[in-house]
C-alpha cells in the first residue's frame, strides 16, 4: 500500500467525524441536514472495509510516524464501529424529530448533539487505530469527556446524577488504567526499549518476554481494572445502567454497542503483552473472575428490573462478561467467537436501544409494567424491539447464537468447563428475565382494547379524586410541566425510523448464517490476539 493510501485510510476514520463535528459546532445560518450525520459512519465503514480487504495477509499499515496503525483487529473493530454508528446516526433524525415534537430538544440542542456525537465517533476511531498505548488511553478518556454532556443532556435531577456518576467513576477508573500503562512503560524502559518504542504496541508485544514480571503483573492488573471500568465489568460498573438509561437513545446505542467493546479491545491488546510476559494464567484468572462476578451482578439485577432501558443496560453487562470469559479462554476459536460476539451484540443492541427510545417517546414511561401490546399499536416498532431482544437472547438465526456456542465450545476444549458451566446457568437466568419482560411489553392486546379494563389507568383517575389510592404509583418525574395523556392510537412508524432497525437485524442475522468475505478478516484478527 502506498504511503498516501495508508495515510488516507488511517486518518479518514478519525478526521472525517471530527470535521463533521466541527461543521455542527460552528454557528450557521441554514440548518445542517439531519442526514449529514451519515457522512462519518460512511467514512469509517469505507476505510474499515478497504483495510479489511487489504490487511489480512499483509503487514500492518502505519502512518503519521507510528501514531496510527491498522492490523486485522483494527479493521474488524472499525467495521463494527462504522456499522453501529451507521445504525445510530441513521436513527438519529427520527429520534430528534420526536424529541423536538415533544418540546424537549431545540434546534441548538440538536446542533450540539450532532457536534458531540461525531466527536465521540472520532475519539472511538482514534482509540481503535492508535498504535501507541498512551495515545490509546488518551482517546478512551476523551470518549468520557465528550459523552458526559450527552448523558446529562436533559438538566433533570436523574440526568445530572447519571452524568456525574459517569464522569467520576469512568475518569477515576481509567486513571488507574493510566497508572498501569505507566508501570508497563517503566518495565519496558528497564528492558532496554527506547522512549518512543516503549509504549508502541507491536514493539512491546514482540519484546514482552523481556519485561520484569512483578512490575508487569501490577501494571496489567491495573489496566484490566481501569479499562474494565469503561467496558462495564465489575467492580467499577455502577455508572453503566444510569448512563445508558439517561442518554439519548442513539447515544445509548453507541455507548452500549461499541464504546464498551472499544474499551475491551484495549484489554485485548494488553492481553498479548501479558501472555508473553507472564504466561497465559494471570490474565485468564483475572478475566474469568471478573466475567463471572459481572454476570452474577447483571443476572441478579435483571431479575428485579422494572425499567426497560436499564434492562438493556444490564444485558450489555451480561454480554460484556461473555466477551471477557471468551477472552479468558484465549484460544484462536474463542477469540474469533469473542470478536463475532462484539459485532453481533453491537448490531442487536443498537436496534434495541434506538427502538426503546421510540417506545419511550410513544408511551412516555420507561417502566416495563406500563408498556403493553406494542406489536398491536405499532407493528414495526414492536417487531424491531422484540426481534432485537430475541437476538440478544442468543437465539438463531442471529449471530450471537453462533458466537455464544463458539465461546462455550472453546472453553470446554480448553479445560475451562467449570467457569463456563456456572456462566451458562447465570446466562439462563438472564434469558428468563429478559424474555419474560420483553414478551409482556411486545405481546398482549392493543392498548385501545386494554384501556377499558386496565386497572392502573382506572386507579390513577380515582386516585386524583380520592387521594391516596395512587400512592403505590411512583412519583411523576420532576419535569416542571404536567405530562399530556398518552396517545394509544395505532401508530405508523415511518421508513426513516424502521429502515435502520431492519438493516441492523438483517446484518445481525446475516453474520449468524454466513460470514462470507468477513471470515477472512475475522480469523486474521483472532490470530493477532490469540497467538497461543
Amino acid at each position: 500500500m502506498t504511503p498516501l493510501a495508508s495515510a488516507v485510510l488511517l486518518t479518514g476514520p478519525v478526521a472525517v467525524p471530527l470535521a463533521v463535528s466541527a461543521c455542527y459546532a460552528v454557528p450557521r445560518r441554514r440548518a445542517l441536514s439531519a442526514w449529514a450525520g451519515l457522512v462519518s459512519p460512511a467514512a469509517i465503514l469505507t476505510c474499515g472495509a478497504l483495510l479489511a480487504a487489504y490487511v489480512p495477509g499483509h503487514r500492518a499499515v502505519t502512518t503519521g510516524g507510528h501514531l496510527l496503525r491498522a492490523d486485522s483487529l483494527t479493521a474488524w473493530m472499525l467495521l463494527v464501529v462504522g456499522a453501529v454508528a451507521a445504525l445510530a446516526c441513521g436513527a438519529s433524525p427520527a429520534y430528534l424529530a420526536g424529541e423536538r415534537d415533544a418540546g424537549r430538544f431545540t434546534d441548538r440542542d440538536a446542533l450540539r448533539y450532532g457536534a458531540l456525537v461525531h466527536a465521540f465517533l472520532g475519539a472511538m476511531a482514534a482509540a481503535v487505530l492508535a498504535e501507541n498505548l498512551g495515545v490509546l488511553w488518551v482517546a478512551v478518556e476523551a470518549t468520557t469527556v465528550v459523552t458526559a454532556f450527552l448523558v446529562g443532556h436533559r438538566h433533570t435531577r436523574a440526568s445530572v446524577e447519571a452524568a456525574w456518576k459517569y464522569v467520576v467513576i469512568c475518569s477515576a477508573g481509567i486513571a488507574l488504567a493510566f497508572l498501569g500503562t505507566v508501570l508497563v512503560y517503566y518495565a519496558a524502559r528497564q528492558a532496554g526499549l527506547s522512549e518512543s518504542a516503549a509504549l508502541d504496541w507491536p514493539v512491546l508485544a514482540a519484546h514482552a518476554d523481556r519485561l520484569d514480571p512483578d512490575v508487569t503483573r501490577l501494571g496489567i492488573g491495573l489496566v484490566v481494572l481501569g479499562f474494565g471500568a469503561k467496558a462495564g465489568v465489575v467492580p467499577l460498573h455502577a455508572w453503566l445502567p444510569d448512563a445508558h438509561s439517561q442518554a439519548p437513545a442513539p447515544v445509548s446505542a453507541l455507548m452500549s454497542g461499541v464504546l464498551l467493546s472499544v474499551a475491551f479491545a484495549a484489554i485485548l491488546r494488553y492481553k498479548v503483552i501479558a501472555d508473553a510476559a507472564l504466561g497465559t494464567g494471570y490474565v485468564r484468572l483475572l478475566l474469568a473472575g471478573t466475567a463471572l462476578l459481572t454476570l452474577a451482578v447483571a443476572a441478579g439485577l435483571l431479575l428485579a428490573q422494572r425499567d426497560y432501558k436499564r434492562m438493556l443496560a444490564y444485558s450489555s453487562m451480561e454480554h460484556m462478561s461473555l466477551v471477557a470469559l471468551g477472552t479468558a479462554v484465549g484460544s484462536p476459536l474463542a477469540i474469533s467467537a469473542v470478536l463475532l460476539h462484539i459485532a453481533g451484540h453491537g448490531l442487536a443492541k443498537s436496534v434495541a436501544f434506538t427502538s426503546a427510545g421510540r417506545i419511550l417517546q410513544l408511551r412516555r414511561t420507561s417502566r416495563i409494567g406500563r408498556v403493553r401490546g406494542l406489536l398491536a399499536q405499532a407493528p414495526a416498532l414492536g417487531a424491531a424491539f422484540g426481534l432485537a431482544v430475541v437476538a440478544l437472547l442468543g437465539l438463531p438465526p442471529f449471530s450471537l447464537f453462533a458466537s455464544e456456542i463458539g465461546i462455550v465450545r472453546a472453553a470446554f476444549a480448553d479445560g475451562m468447563g467449570w467457569p463456563v458451566a456456572v456462566a451458562l446457568l447465570l446466562v439462563l437466568t438472564a434469558f428468563a428475565a429478559l424474555a419474560a419482560r420483553t414478551a409482556r411489553m411486545v405481546l398482549g392486546q392493543a392498548p385501545m382494547a386494554t384501556r377499558a379494563a386496565a386497572p392502573a389507568e382506572v386507579k390513577v383517575a380515582v386516585g386524583a379524586g380520592v387521594g391516596g389510592a395512587s400512592r403505590s404509583d411512583p412519583p411523576a418525574p420532576a419535569e416542571g410541566r404536567p405530562e399530556p395523556p398518552v396517545d394509544e392510537r395505532p401508530v405508523r412508524i415511518g421508513a426513516a425510523a424502521w429502515l435502520p432497525w431492519a438493516l441492523g437485524l438483517l446484518a445481525c442475522a446475516a453474520l449468524g448464517t454466513a460470514l462470507g468475505p468477513l471470515g477472512h478478516v475475522l480469523h486474521a484478527a483472532a490470530a493477532v490476539i490469540g497467538g497461543h
Binding site: V135, E141, A148, A162, V167, T181, Y186, Q190, L301
Partner: protein
C-alpha cells in the same frame, strides 16, 4: 547538579507532595483544600524540574513549567471559581460531614502509605535510584486520592480526590521513568483539563437541580 543535594531535594519535594495529600484529609475548609492542592502541584513541578536538571533534559524542564501552569494555576483557579459560585448560592464552603471522620481518615492515610510502600517494592527493586526510591510516595498519593473520592460528600471534594489521584499517577510516571513521552503527556493534561471543566459545569447543574452539591442527595437512580 551534585548527586547528594539532588537526592535530598528530590526527597524533600516528594515529602511535601505526600504531606499535601494528607493535609487535604485533615482540613475541612474547601478553600484551604484548594490552596493545599496548589502547593502539591508546585511540589510535583519541582520533582519534574529536579529530574530535568539532573538528567540535563531541557524538554523535562519545559514539561515542569507546563505542569506548574496547569496544576498550580489553571486547575486551582477553576476550583476557586466553582467554590465562589457555591458560596454565592448557599454558603457551601466546608466539607460538612465526611463519611469517615478526620482522625480515622489520617490513620487510613498512614495505612495506605504503608500499603503503597509494600506494593511498590518490586518497582523499586527493578532499578534502585534516588528517584525510584521515592516512587512509593506517588502510589501512596494515588491511594489517598481514591480514598478521598469515595469518602467525601461534597462534589468539589470529589473533584479534589480525582485530582489527587491524577497528581499521584503523574508523580509515579516522573519518578519511575522521568515522565511518559511528550505526546502522551500533552494528551493526558488536555483530557484532565476537560474532565475538570466538565465536572465544574456538572457541579453548577447539580446545584440548580438538587439545591446543593451533597453527593448523598444523588439517589434518583437505583434498582
Amino acid at each position: 547538579m551534585n548527586t547528594g543535594i539532588y537526592g535530598q531535594l528530590l526527597d524533600l519535594a516528594a515529602g511535601i507532595f505526600l504531606l499535601a495529600a494528607v493535609l487535604t484529609l485533615w482540613r475541612r475548609d474547601l478553600a484551604a483544600i484548594v490552596r493545599i492542592f496548589a502547593a502539591q502541584g508546585m511540589a510535583l513541578a519541582a520533582i519534574a524540574l529536579l529530574l530535568g536538571l539532573h538528567e540535563h533534559r531541557w524538554d523535562l524542564v519545559a514539561v515542569a513549567a507546563g505542569i506548574a501552569v496547569l496544576r498550580v494555576g489553571v486547575l486551582p483557579h477553576l476550583m476557586r471559581r466553582a467554590l465562589a459560585a457555591g458560596a454565592a448560592a448557599g454558603g457551601e464552603t466546608r466539607e460538612t460531614q465526611p463519611l469517615v471522620n478526620v482522625a480515622a481518615s489520617l490513620l487510613t492515610a498512614a495505612a495506605l502509605t504503608l500499603l503503597a510502600y509494600a506494593a511498590a517494592r518490586p518497582l523499586v527493586r527493578l532499578a534502585p535510584s534516588p528517584a525510584t526510591r521515592a516512587l512509593p510516595v506517588g502510589i501512596a498519593v494515588v491511594l489517598i486520592g481514591f480514598f478521598t473520592l469515595v469518602t467525601r460528600r461534597r462534589a468539589l471534594s470529589q473533584v479534589v480526590g480525582f485530582l489527587l489521584l491524577d497528581n499521584g499517577i503523574t508523580a509515579t510516571a516522573f519518578l519511575a521513568t522521568s515522565g511518559v513521552p511528550l505526546i502522551v503527556e500533552l494528551g493526558v493534561s488536555f483530557d484532565l483539563l476537560l474532565a475538570v471543566l466538565v465536572l465544574q459545569i456538572l457541579t453548577t447543574r447539580m446545584r440548580v437541580a438538587f439545591g446543593g452539591t451533597d453527593i448523598d442527595d444523588l439517589r434518583e437512580l437505583h434498582d
